[in-house]
């Protein structure tokens, strides 16, 4: 079943925005960047790319 990107993107955006306000992230982001991250999270899940995140982080 396809991900409902629009709805999920908004929820992910809200969740990561609230978490960023509380703290715990090493990399601070702007609102626009959080939108981009929310979209990217959905892409990562949909295309099963989680492993590449770690690889790229390690570079």
């Amino acid at each position: 079943m396809a991900i409902n990107f629009e709805e999920n993107e908004e929820i992910i955006f809200q969740l990561i925005s609230e978490l960023e306000t509380i703290g715990g992230f090493d990399i601070p982001t702007t609102m626009d960047e959080r939108r981009e991250i929310a979209r990217f999270i959905l892409k990562v899940i949909d295309e099963d790319l989680e492993a590449t995140l770690v690889e790229e982080t390690d570079i």
Binding site: M1, I3, N8, I11, I12, Q14, L15, I16, E18, L19, T21, I22, G23, G24, F25, D26, I27, T29, T30, D32, E33, E36, I37, F40, I41, L42, V44, I45, D46, E47, D48, E50, T52, L53, V54, E56, T57, I59
Partner: protein, 321 residues
């Protein structure tokens, strides 16, 4: 519209995705992502720091092997002065490294005092207390906040809720907490609105109220039988030398636990050369098969031995989890 560079996007996404999954605000299965009930409740909650703190402490509490030390740690931490809390934080994040240049003698002393006070509260050794406090107060997963960094007001409120739940458990109000024998001689223990506390921890800490005729003889450690198996709680009657083995089963079928209990009782009979060994099985729900097996066994046990069963009912109706 700005675009993040690839590395920053990957790193920021990794820590946020890890945090979302760690807090269980989303679930990912077979390439499907959905916000969980917890995720929606978090968004709806008026005090998100408090909500997240409750998630953190509850999840850490469920994972810890020493819930008594864990609670003592937070009880002590929220009553410590702001200055000392800052020193404890510094010590924990520097790995308690006394070689760390930024860690003053005062910081280290505050940390040592904190550990000693927690140890006094729970009656445990300093080294175990140190390890449990470290895991309880710091963050261990990328992207997640360390509980020690949450406002102390929120932590105090959460600790007060843990305490209130414990008092609730101890209440004698029969409508809420009920320990009574039913017509089949099976005791029913109902604990309403209780957070998923460790069953063994709850039983041990409230042992005298639950079993006034018994005393624990295993020094708060699982008793190791000669066969190398471990008894959940090993105790004995205060008035005579009758041993009692308590087996706790929160999730597994009680029929398996009944076999385990009989094995332990038999081992204790042989080890202490006695026929006077009682067994208590504390389980979620006794099924028909176990009840039937129990009925058949009772008649064939030695005269001074018997098995009783306590059913418990943990209802998870915690305010916003």
């Amino acid at each position: 519209m700005t675009h993040m560079n690839k590395n920053k996007l990957s790193e920021a996404t990794f820590e946020r995705l890890t945090a979302l999954k760690s807090y269980k605000l989303i679930s990912v299965k077979k390439r499907r992502l959905r916000a969980t009930g917890r995720g929606f409740n978090f968004l709806k909650s008026e005090n998100k720091q408090y909500y997240l703190g409750k998630i953190l402490l509850t999840d850490k509490y469920r994972r810890t092997k020493h819930p008594d030390v864990f609670l003592a740690c937070y009880r002590e931490f929220v009553t410590t002065s702001e200055e000392k809390r800052a020193s404890i934080r510094k010590s924990i994040f520097s790995g308690r490294g006394d070689e760390d240049e930024d860690l003053s003698e005062e910081d280290f002393t505050s940390y040592r005092e904190f550990i000693e006070n927690v140890a006094k509260r729970c009656g445990r050794a300093d080294d175990i207390v140190g390890k449990v406090c470290d895991l309880a107060l710091r963050n261990t997963i990328v992207g997640t906040i360390a509980p020690i960094d949450l406002p102390v007001e929120e932590l105090s409120q959460i600790v007060a809720e843990f305490d209130a739940l414990e008092k609730f458990f101890l209440t004698s109000d029969p409508g809420k907490t009920d320990l009574e024998a039913n017509s089949e001689g099976i005791t029913t223990l109902v604990i309403d609105n209780m957070l998923e506390l460790h069953l063994e921890d709850v039983v041990r800490r409230n042992f005298h109220q639950l079993f006034p005729d018994l005393e624990i003889v295993d020094k708060n450690q699982h008793y190791r039988t000669r066969d190398g198996t471990y008894i959940d709680i090993f105790c004995k009657h205060k008035q005579d030398d009758k041993y009692t083995v308590i087996e706790l089963k929160r999730d597994k079928p009680p029929s398996n636990a009944l076999v385990q209990l009989l094995d332990y009782m038999n081992q204790i009979m042989e080890e202490f050369d006695t026929k006077k060994v009682a067994g208590i099985l504390i389980c979620k729900e006794i099924d028909r098969r176990t009840k039937s097996a129990l009925g058949a066994i009772q008649g064939s046990l030695p005269e001074d031995s018997n098995i009783s069963v306590i059913e418990f009912n943990l209802k998870m109706e915690y305010s916003c989890m």
